[in-house]
């Protein structure tokens, strides 16, 4: 194994897959293994750090290993399959295309194509890793023989920074802050988050606020539908932040009293362990890999019942003992998660190739 490089379709800051690619590169470089990240799309601020995937021919060698972070259909797949290097995919899951049919035809097409491309990897890659057992199971069902789980690298050091003083003045006003973190896209079922919050605000605790923290560009029609829902329901104090820098994200987390997640499809769900780390009680619906990520911590909603969820939020708000028990269960789950050394698992997996 001379060098280990990584392929990504897109690299954007704050993105879980991008963060993982950076962590893997750092881990490999620290151990003296040459490593670069190649991407199709990347933010201009990373122009010096990320290399265009079309330039990979200069780095390619049959003794190299190339890792493809696969999460959507793209031309990168073709390039990846053509290089002579040994090949590993890390499957981050593809959202089923039907979620996007009403809102983003191009993305729906890319997700559909992505699943077809994933099938095309069978028999052509040396190793297929999923970032959760849920994803690994999907790989096995597709016919991949050499599979494994590479837990998503979680860098909690960035949560060490303090709350922005201005945010404290704005949002630490006695209101009960409910948080959602993630992209504003249809599979996250933000309409359910809004409905539950509305019932909570109307029936149980009117002095409350909902933070919807995440990118909505490209999904303006979904955002419009959500804002229309907010208007029709008459919900107050719903704050859509859009894409924000990391210090603001940390502030939103630290100013929140409860994390609510109603998504129906998740390949991993990074905000859950992040909330665990920050001691925020988590209420999450069991969609995709959420149960596995929660790992016995927090409170898992097995079915959707808006009114019961709102009542449970109220119970968590009122009952310190319950909240402490939930936070303690989250801490135990996080310790179990952190005990798995992602870097070492990756190196062990790569050793299997040589």
């Amino acid at each position: 194994m001379r060098q280990v490089h990584q392929f990504l379709t897109s690299y954007s800051y704050g993105d879980a897959i991008g963060n993982e690619a950076l962590e893997i590169r750092k881990h490999l470089r620290d151990r003296g293994v040459g490593s670069e990240i190649f991407a199709l799309y990347y933010h201009p601020r990373y122009a010096g750090e990320i290399v265009n995937y079309l330039d990979y021919d200069r780095f390619s060698h049959r003794d190299n290993v190339v890792i493809f972070h696969f999460s959507i259909g793209s031309p990168v797949t073709k390039k990846f399959l053509r290089v002579p290097d040994r090949k590993v995919i890390i499957y981050h899951n593809i959202t089923p295309h039907h979620f996007f049919l009403d809102y983003h035809r191009i993305l729906a097409k890319d997700c559909y194509k992505g699943r077809l491309e994933l099938k095309s990897f069978v028999g052509k890659v040396d190793l297929a890793l999923g970032d959760s057992r849920y994803n690994e199971e999907e790989l096995r069902q597709l016919g991949f023989r050499e599979t494994g789980v590479l837990p998503l690298v979680m860098d909690f050091s960035r949560f060490g920074r303090p709350v922005l003083p201005v945010f404290r003045d704005l949002f630490q006003d006695g209101r009960f802050n409910v948080l959602y973190v993630g992209r504003v896209i249809p599979n996250k079922r933000l309409e359910d988050v809004i409905k539950v919050f509305h019932l909570f605000q109307t029936l149980f605790h009117d002095k409350s606020r909902l933070f919807v923290v995440g990118e909505y560009r490209g999904f303006e029609r979904y955002l419009h539908a959500l804002q229309d829902l907010v208007r029709r329901l008459g919900v107050k104090h719903v704050h859509f932040s859009g894409h924000i820098p990391e210090d603001e994200l940390v502030s939103y987390y630290k100013l929140s009293h409860l994390y609510l997640h109603m998504s129906e499809h998740e390949g991993f769900c990074a905000p859950v362990p992040e909330s665990f780390h920050l001691g925020i009680p988590v209420l999450a619906f069991d969609g995709g890999a959420v149960e596995e990520t929660m790992n016995g911590g927090g409170m898992l909603l097995r079915r959707k019942s808006h009114l019961e969820t709102a009542a449970l939020m109220d119970r968590l708000r009122r009952d310190d003992k319950l909240r402490n028990a939930v936070v303690a269960s989250q801490q135990r789950a996080l310790e179990k998660y952190l005990s798995r050394r992602t870097g070492q698992i990756l190196l062990d997996s790569l050793q299997r190739l040589s």
């Binding site: 959500l226 329901l233 079915r303 019942s305 019961e308 939930v326 135990r332």
Partner: protein, 189 residues
Amino acid sequence: MAEEKQKDQPFLSASEDIDVEAIMADIQKKIEEKKDAGLLKQSEIDDIVDMELLPLPDFQEVPNVYENHLYTRPLDESLILGFEIEQERTGLKGLVKRLLQKIRRLFLPLIRFAIRPALNDLASRYGTVVFQSKEYIKILHSALNNMIVEASKLKIEEEMLKTKIKVLEDKIEFIENRERAIEKKIYPS
């Protein structure tokens, strides 16, 4: 199917040291209390839960499909060939036809030199008008259809712009609040 499967599941899972059953009992009691207090009726709660999102249509998905219907004619062999292929007829009908053709042949010079030019003249005079009228109606229909399509697209775009304005308003409000908070920090009164 998935919804039916969900119904069989317990509502909540948590770690073993949390008494889920006691929590659920407490929650149900609280819900009943709220209902009895008359804050929201069960029908209103059901309406909220069943409320659907109303997404705007994608204006790129408003196609102009009218032209195809207007200008595509059904496939007709006689239109391609310019004449109908006639089968050789036998029996009494065939005999009568052949007889009439022979009689017609006698009048052929008259038809060719006197009647056909007159008919052609009439056809060219009025046929052009009819053809032009047909095409004009098609253009009118097409223009009207295009106008409706464009108006629909503009309406959708207007709604999208309203959303963007709402987002900007919210952002400005938030920025103003931040600005005031910063001012208070810098110049505490």
